[in-house]
């Protein structure tokens, strides 16, 4: 850590966080390398796969294409912040119930994206779910069950 580091204040999964970061640190690298939150995944690191999707001030974003320092004062929610204690978030439970994954690498990003999708009011039908989940790739091809899981969770959110 050289003296290029700048102070950053965030709220991560409900907890305030104060840390110094180098300006070229992405939000994704901050979460994984500095805060030990390994749930958010680095897939392509270019905003094409969606594995790094988190919520910033409630909106889904690609954390790999964001500088951490630019998120000063914001609220970040990762996959680790969705469950209420031991109780899974309805979207997490629906992914399990519907077998909406195979290898699981894209799953945290899929679930964060799906939670935002429902909040946006765009999970109305299968066509809209597919179109509005297009920023999250699943190389195992679990798409049918992902759509089913979102339809299931939608009813409980």
């Amino acid at each position: 850590m050289d003296d290029a580091s700048v102070p950053l204040r965030l709220n991560v999964n409900g907890s305030p966080c104060q840390i110094k970061v180098e300006p070229w640190t992405t939000l994704l690298d901050l979460l994984r390398e500095r805060l030990g939150l390994f749930g958010t995944k680095k897939g392509c690191d270019h905003g094409q796969c969606g594995a790094c999707t988190v919520l910033v001030d409630g909106k889904r974003v690609n954390s790999c294409l964001m500088l951490a320092i630019m998120q000063d004062g914001k609220e970040v929610t990762t996959i680790e912040g969705l469950a209420a204690g031991p109780e899974l978030h309805p979207m997490q439970q629906a992914f399990l119930d519907c077998d909406a994954l195979q290898c699981g690498y894209c799953t945290p990003g899929q679930i964060c994206s799906a939670v935002a999708l429902v909040a946006e009011g765009k999970a109305n039908d299968r066509a809209s779910i597919r179109e509005n989940m297009s920023g999250n790739l699943c190389r195992c091809g679990a798409y049918n069950n992902i759509v089913a899981a979102i339809e299931k969770a939608r009813e409980q959110l």
Partner: protein, 329 residues
């Protein structure tokens, strides 16, 4: 990415002052810039964070137009009630582009300023005049399926991939800019430039200039507009060809028409003769085909993208037919 200094601009004047020095980039959404910095294609010495500037408003103008702040996100703009009601062509084009995550991040000004680019621009192991002037163009003899058929030069055949800008071109938007010499306006049609012999410059912006807003004129073609995007995937892919159409009709007659093409040129492609070819004509395939001829005049493809010429011709006709039927709700 290369190390850089980071500053947060507190007001427009401060941002402009910072950016008058070389090696300085503004950053807002960062969706294209950070990506290019990771590949060492962009290597700024200093980034000026402009996201705290007060440029997030969408305001009605006295004459009936709309002023869109440069920092309004693509997602917010596409969902804005006034845009959906008066400029559905713009909303449709924005929602055809990128992914929901990227649309949440990307801004109006940043969408304009995403680089005209191709995969050889990203690949620092290949020749690219845009990245490294006078190094050659690997795309001309390479895999050029995505590349330009109009407006290209021997130096560069990359396309500007925006969907939003194609709709803005058809709507004849204006770009508001603040710079060291004060404010000025640039018609969207003149904002992006053709590569010619200097493909490193994508736009008409001068050093230190900052986009503050985009203005739409009152006419938004709300009843008869259509954005048609043809791409290799069903969603989340750049256009092979896209068409923005706005029509005004009296019965079966076209009283006014605006056409723009995307995915085929280094800038949103407008040909005023195509609009004029439709004025006063009856709606129908014959009129639309004539407009297509005008729009595609001089089109020249390469080994892997010659199909785009016929694809564009058919896409123009289909987009006009859809617009004539009425804007999809």
């Amino acid at each position: 990415m290369k190390k850089f200094t980071y500053n947060r601009a507190e007001n427009v004047a401060e941002a402009v002052k910072y950016a008058s020095n070389s090696g300085v980039h503004f950053i807002a959404g960062g969706t294209n810039l950070i990506d290019l910095m990771k590949e060492q294609v962009e290597r700024p010495d200093r980034l000026i964070d402009i996201t705290r500037l007060p440029l997030r408003e969408v305001q009605e103008q006295a004459g009936g137009g709309l002023r869109i702040g440069a920092l309004v996100s693509n997602a917010a703009l596409a969902e804005h009630p006034l845009v959906r009601e008066r400029y559905p062509l713009l909303a449709q084009a924005i929602l055809a582009g990128a992914s929901p995550q990227l649309r949440n991040m990307a801004t109006t000004g940043g969408n304009l300023l995403q680089r005209t680019r191709c995969m050889y621009f990203y690949d620092t192991a290949t020749a690219c005049n845009k990245r490294n002037l006078n190094s050659g163009c690997a795309a001309r003899t390479g895999i050029n399926r995505q590349h330009a058929i109009l407006g290209h030069s021997p130096a560069c055949i990359a396309v500007h991939p925006s969907d939003m800008c194609v709709a803005l071109a058809a709507l004849e938007a204006t770009v508001l800019v603040e710079g060291p010499q004060g404010p000025r306006t640039i018609p969207l049609a003149d904002f992006h430039r053709l590569p010619g012999e200097s493909p490193e410059r994508d736009t008409a912006l001068q050093a230190g200039e900052l986009i503050t807003a985009v203005e739409l004129p009152p006419e938004g073609f709300p009843s008869h507009s259509h954005y048609l995007k043809i791409r290799d995937r069903a969603s989340y892919a750049f256009a092979l060809v896209s068409v923005a159409v706005g029509l005004k009709l009296e019965g079966e007659h076209i009283t006014e028409a605006r056409l723009a093409l995307g995915g085929v040129a280094p800038k949103p492609w407008r040909v005023s003769a195509a609009d004029e070819a439709l004025r006063g004509q009856l709606i129908g395939k014959r009129s639309f085909a004539q407009a297509a001829e005008q729009l595609l005049h001089g089109a020249e493809g390469f080994e892997h993208n010659r199909f785009k010429i016929e694809l564009a011709r058919r896409a123009i006709i289909r987009a006009c037919e859809e617009a004539a039927k009425g804007t999809a709700q």
